[in-house]
C-alpha cells in the first residue's frame, strides 16, 4: 500500500483532532531520539521513560496550538523533553532555580536528514577542545548554570563564560560548514533503524 509522505506537521494536525495513530506515528519516528536525549540527562530507568512520555503527551495536548511558523516539530519535541528531564534532574539534585529553554524552536533539519545531522553534530562536538565541550555539556545535559559549572569545576566564572562562548561559536561554525558541504541527496537512515542499546 503506497502512501504520500506524511510530514511531521501533518501528524501534529491529526493529533489535534484526537487521532492517536498520528501520535503513534510521531513516536515511531522520534521515540528513539527523545528517549536517547532524556537517558543522556537522567540515565536509563523509570524517570527517563516518564520524561519521554511527558514530552509526547505535551505535544498531544498542545497539538491544537501548534503552528508551523513556530518552528519544526522535532526541535519542539526535543526541547520539551530536555526541559522535562532537567526538571526531574533538579528534583533529584536541588540547586538554584534556573530558566528553561524556550520551546519555540528555530529551524532544524527534517526527518530524512536526522541521521546525517546526528553524525555531523557528534563529530562537531567531538572536535571541540575538551574544556569547551565539557562546559556545553554540563549546561545542556546537566542543567547547571554557569556559576554552578564554575564551582563544580573549581574554575573562575570568567573562564567558564569564555569556554561556553567559544565552544558554541565553534559548534555553530562546524555545523554551518557541514550543512553547506553536505550533498543535497545524501542517503540517510531512518532514526529508528540505527537504534542500538549501546553505541
Amino acid at each position: 500500500m503506497l502512501q504520500a509522505p506524511v510530514t511531521d506537521e501533518d501528524l501534529v494536525r491529526r493529533c489535534a483532532t484526537g487521532d492517536r495513530m498520528a501520535l503513534a506515528a510521531l513516536y515511531d519516528r522520534y521515540g528513539v531520539l527523545v528517549f536517547s536525549l532524556v537517558v543522556r540527562i537522567l540515565g536509563e530507568g523509570m524517570a527517563a521513560e516518564e520524561a519521554t512520555q511527558d514530552a509526547f503527551l505535551a505535544v498531544w495536548r498542545r497539538a491544537a496550538d501548534y503552528s508551523a511558523e513556530r518552528g519544526r516539530v522535532l526541535p519542539w519535541l526535543l526541547t520539551i523533553a530536555r526541559n522535562r528531564a532537567i526538571d526531574e534532574l533538579r528534583r533529584r539534585r536541588p540547586m538554584a532555580e534556573q530558566v528553561e529553554l524556550p520551546d519555540d524552536a528555530a529551524l532544524q533539519p527534517g526527518l530524512e536528514e536526522v541521521s546525517l545531522r546526528r553524525l555531523q553534530v557528534r563529530r562537531a562536538l567531538a572536535d571541540l577542545p575538551d574544556a569547551q565541550r565539557e562546559a556545553l555539556e554540563l549546561a545542556y545535559y546537566g542543567g547547571m548554570t554557569q556559576q554552578e559549572i564554575a564551582e563544580y569545576l573549581q574554575t573562575p566564572l570568567g573562564t567558564i563564560k569564555t569556554r561556553m562562548r567559544l565552544g558554541l561559536q565553534r559548534l555553530r561554525a562546524a555545523l554551518d560548514d557541514a550543512r553547506v558541504g553536505a550533498p543535497e541527496s545524501q542517503p540517510s537512515i531512518h532514526p529508528r533503524s540505527d537504534a542500538v542499546r549501546n553505541e
Binding site: R20, S36, R165
Partner: protein, 247 residues
C-alpha cells in the same frame, strides 16, 4: 543606535541559549533582545544548542513505553477538565475506535493472534491509569540501581507494578512480589521476569484489597515461586507512603 555585539553580550547570549543563566540573569539579558544583532546572535546560538539534542548515543526505549504513551493520551485530551475525574471507570466509548484501529492494524500485519492480548493490555493499562495512588519502590542492598513504581487503589484488589533496572536472572529464577499484611504475613503477589533492559510490568491481583497491606517487596525466588520469601529484598515500598497522583 544599538550597542555593538560585545564579547560580554556574546557570552551572555551563549549562556542564555544553553539555559545556563539564573532567572534574574536571564531577565537582565532579555532587555537586550530588542537589538536585532542580539536577536540574531541568540538565534544562531540556539540552533547550535538544539542540535545538541540529537547528539546522545541512541538508546532503544522499552517496548511497553509506546503503549503506555498511547493509552495515557486517551486521558490527556486538552478538552478534558483539569479537575481530577473520580476514579474513572473504563471509558469504552472513547476506547473503542482505538481498539478497532489497533485490531485492523494488527490483522493487516498478519498478527491476528495478538489481538486478544492487545485488548487485555489496553484495558488493563486503562484501569491502572485510573488508580488514584502511586508509590515509589526503593532498592534493597542486592541491586542498588533497581527501582520501581506501584499503582494502586486502597479499595481495589488490582494494582500495577512497573520495575526498572532489575538484574537479569538465570532461567531457574524468577522475581516474586510479596504483599505484606499489617500483621506481617507475606502473601504471594505474583511472579515476573524482566526483559534484557531490566524492565518489567505486571498486573497484580491481590487476595485482599490493597489498603489492607502495609508494605510490598520483591525478592528473587526459584522458578515457580516460593510460599514465602527466601532471599533479600530487591525493591520494596511502604504502602502508607503512597500518594495521590497529581495528573
Amino acid at each position: 543606535m544599538y550597542p555593538p555585539l560585545t564579547e560580554d553580550i556574546q557570552e551572555q547570549a551563549a549562556a542564555y541559549s544553553l539555559g545556563a543563566l539564573t532567572p534574574d540573569e536571564a531577565e537582565a539579558f532579555a532587555a537586550h533582545l530588542d537589538a536585532p544583532s542580539v536577536v540574531a546572535e541568540v538565534a544562531a546560538c540556539r540552533a547550535a544548542v538544539e542540535a545538541m539534542a540529537v547528539a546522545p548515543a541512541l538508546r532503544t526505549p522499552p517496548p511497553a513505553l509506546r503503549d503506555k504513551i498511547l493509552i495515557a493520551a486517551d486521558t490527556a485530551r486538552p478538552t478534558a477538565d483539569t479537575t481530577r475525574p473520580s476514579p474513572a471507570p473504563l471509558r469504552w466509548p472513547r476506547l473503542m475506535p482505538w481498539l478497532a484501529a489497533a485490531a485492523l492494524f494488527v490483522v493487516a500485519l498478519g498478527l491476528g493472534a495478538r489481538v486478544a492480548q492487545q485488548q487485555a493490555t489496553i484495558s488493563e493499562y486503562q484501569a491502572f491509569l485510573a488508580m488514584p495512588n502511586t508509590v515509589q519502590m526503593e532498592a534493597g542492598d542486592a541491586a542498588p540501581d533497581a527501582h520501581g513504581r506501584f499503582y494502586l487503589a486502597p479499595n481495589s484488589r488490582q494494582a500495577m507494578l512497573l520495575a526498572s533496572d532489575l538484574p537479569a536472572l538465570p532461567d531457574d529464577k524468577v522475581y516474586q512480589l510479596w504483599l505484606v499484611g499489617k500483621d506481617g504475613v507475606r502473601e504471594n503477589g505474583g511472579l515476573f521476569r524482566v526483559d534484557e533492559g531490566g524492565y518489567a510490568t505486571m498486573i497484580v491481583r491481590a487476595p485482599r484489597p490493597l489498603g489492607e497491606y502495609a508494605r510490598i517487596g520483591v525478592t528473587t525466588e526459584p522458578k515457580g515461586g516460593s510460599p514465602g520469601p527466601t532471599s533479600g529484598r530487591i525493591i520494596g515500598a511502604d504502602l502508607s507512603k503512597a500518594t495521590e497522583r497529581s495528573n
